[in-house]
Assembly symmetry: C2
């Protein structure tokens, strides 16, 4: 059965002390329902993607459902660390394919800025192998990706300047996206001179803590055709996972969960990486985006830095990536990120991205969403046809 | 597509300081794989049901996957409060129906006894509408169900003795189940004289905090027929939700989420409540089991107490309920409970429950799993045919 995205919503990302988590989610829910032209009574299942732990409600799904007026619809929360949003879209997609409902919604939300910095370091640090790495070795999250950055620099000659270029690109497109948390251009010099967090990663190599939400309305083919002239089809979903214990990984130059999830998604969608017009990649740290280029097959292993140097992932390049500013500049409200990526690629494929629009040739977009340090990966292929 | 349970596993429930969360989950995973006769390479998706917050790992799915050797399989965690286990089974079921894999696993796990009592009160108290009820009014979880008990007693003449009878039944079957947390018979007098927690609910009206895990292997019809001669088919799943804010509910004598989820499950399975041979009901408090009898249609509204008085929900009765000891005596490791219910009903339908065996006539069993105070409900109909 074919399933399409027929409605999208995305809150302003940033420091959102003006709303509680249900209100924040509702901003996207309302937009997505209006965009799809559906009423709350039309929706048969609501899946909430949220890592939780950052905000007061322990059962966010039911609180959000209630605030949005979905009381009896049925809901659950899905968590796959920073890939929770994509996992929620998959679960909502599954509920349509399984015949439970014709129309479902995936909502991603996180509210992260109300906890103090030390608690944040702990909450994110726990997104590894807690007992082994965090407790025993005191690893924090930037340190995990710093291992990868050092290995990639050592093996392939990727430089600190290359990493900085990813951040500069992100801020460039963030400055063009009114929903983004950061809307100022930065320079390579600014990145290089920013505070070292875990060498070679500096402050500007890392995505921020963010409050935000995003929502998509999904519909079966029959329902989609009644609702919209511009459905964006979910053409294939691939997912994989990997050891949480970095000491068990064979190398630190790429994420095997991405390689595997991408292989499955391309097979399900019956496409090759060359057919992708536009993508969002999981750039929690700058090195993560460079590795993603390679692991997704946008270039060969070791050539990721060349892609950013040559501007191939900018508008007008061979494969534009993160034209919404990415996690780095749009922000990274954990559970919302994967859903927000779907929103962005849907906008791109509908050619509604305004000044940030990519050239759409084959009509195919890709969403790459990683949890932890490649502990989870979900790759979703979207298509106009 | 038809999907069957082809393998089951259930750890010892209780205080399990001898294992960490991954080891605890693996006890059930190993049993379920051995029971199904499958290897880890046969399994294409693992869904973990766990509420979390009680133990150290923030990403339990990937930690459990790794320990069990499922590294690249792909996973996510599902949370629907105390219905997380059933939601995980639904998600694993969906992944087979959607064609992602022929064989999937749902694992439920919780490790709750390592936190101190006050933290437990807070963690469980948050399983309501946190801001409104817990923070503003200081409601704790037993108080939510006490409201229901008082209303039910007032409207239908249900007595404290009737509530006690549910606990006595649970402990009776718990004493016959080597996996149960409590294995001692109790008396109505013992329940009535135990400490009042939130009147009319006393210590023995409440289920305990528990460490435990359960797992089921699910298979497509084609795969199931190769693996086993005793498949237990998932005949229908119904789910619903309700306001988390009790002040918005019309009455306190039943859970509308149960009524709605049951209606959907019966419709999906094309059966009536009269066809159910044996059930597990969500007896987090004794009043919850009495309301469940009514809300699931095992008797008319207001007649639940009569069912327990007349022994109709005992072995040999019209509709035996919780012959495993229920949440009350088997224990209630939040994320594991729904999966453990599937394990029990599978055993019953396979006629492998030994001294606790119900009479199986129509070959149909039912799992009723509630999250929060009826915030979520999942009802699953299982069948030999």
């Amino acid at each position: 059965m074919r399933v399409a995205i027929v409605g999208i919503g995305n809150s302003k990302f940033g420091r959102r002390t003006d709303v509680n988590v249900a209100e924040l989610a509702f901003e996207s829910i309302k937009q997505a329902m209006d965009d799809a032209g559906v009423d709350k009574k039309d929706i048969g299942n609501v899946v909430v993607g949220s890592a939780g732990g950052w905000y007061e409600e322990a059962l966010p799904a039911v609180i959000i459902n209630e605030y949005a007026g979905f009381n009896s619809v049925g809901t659950m929360r899905v968590e796959a660390a920073c890939a929770s949003g994509s996992a929620a879209v998959k679960a909502a997609y599954n509920s349509i394919v399984s015949g439970e409902t014709d129309i479902a919604m995936a909502v991603g939300v996180e509210k992260m800025t109300e906890v103090d910095t030390l608690t944040s370091v702990e909450l994110i640090g726990r997104a590894g192998s807690y007992t082994w790495e965090f407790e025993n070795y005191g690893m924090t999250f930037p340190a995990y990706y710093a291992l990868y950055a050092v290995a990639h620099m050592n093996r392939y000659g990727t430089t600190e300047e290359d990493l900085a270029r990813v951040a500069v690109k992100a801020h460039h497109y963030g400055s063009m996206n009114p929903l983004a948390q950061f809307q100022k251009e930065i320079t390579v010099e600014k990145v290089l001179s920013s505070q070292v967090v875990a060498w070679p990663l500096k402050l500007y190599d890392a995505c921020p803590l963010t409050d935000g939400s995003a929502a998509v309305v999904l519909a079966s083919e029959e329902a989609a055709k009644k609702l919209t002239d511009t459905p964006v089809w979910i053409k294939g979903i691939g997912y994989s996972s990997d050891s949480a214990n970095l000491s068990k990984r064979p190398d630190f130059v790429g994420l095997s969960a991405t390689v595997e999830a991408a292989k499955r998604a391309y097979a399900a969608a019956k496409i090759t990486p060359e057919q992708v017009d536009v993508a969002t990649c999981h750039d929690c740290f700058t090195i993560a985006e460079i590795m993603a280029y390679e692991d997704l097959g946008f270039c060969k292993k070791g050539e990721g830095a060349r892609l950013i140097r040559d501007g191939e992932t900018m508008q007008g390049g061979r494969i534009p990536v993160n034209l919404d500013g990415g996690l780095k500049a749009k922000g990274h409200p954990i559970g919302a990120t994967g859903v927000s990526m779907m929103v962005e690629i849907t906008k791109q494929l509908r050619q509604e991205a305004g000044s940030r629009q990519a050239a759409i040739k084959k009509g195919i977009g890709l969403v790459h969403n990683v949890g932890g340090t490649g502990h989870y990966c979900y790759v979703t292929v979207l298509s106009r046809d």
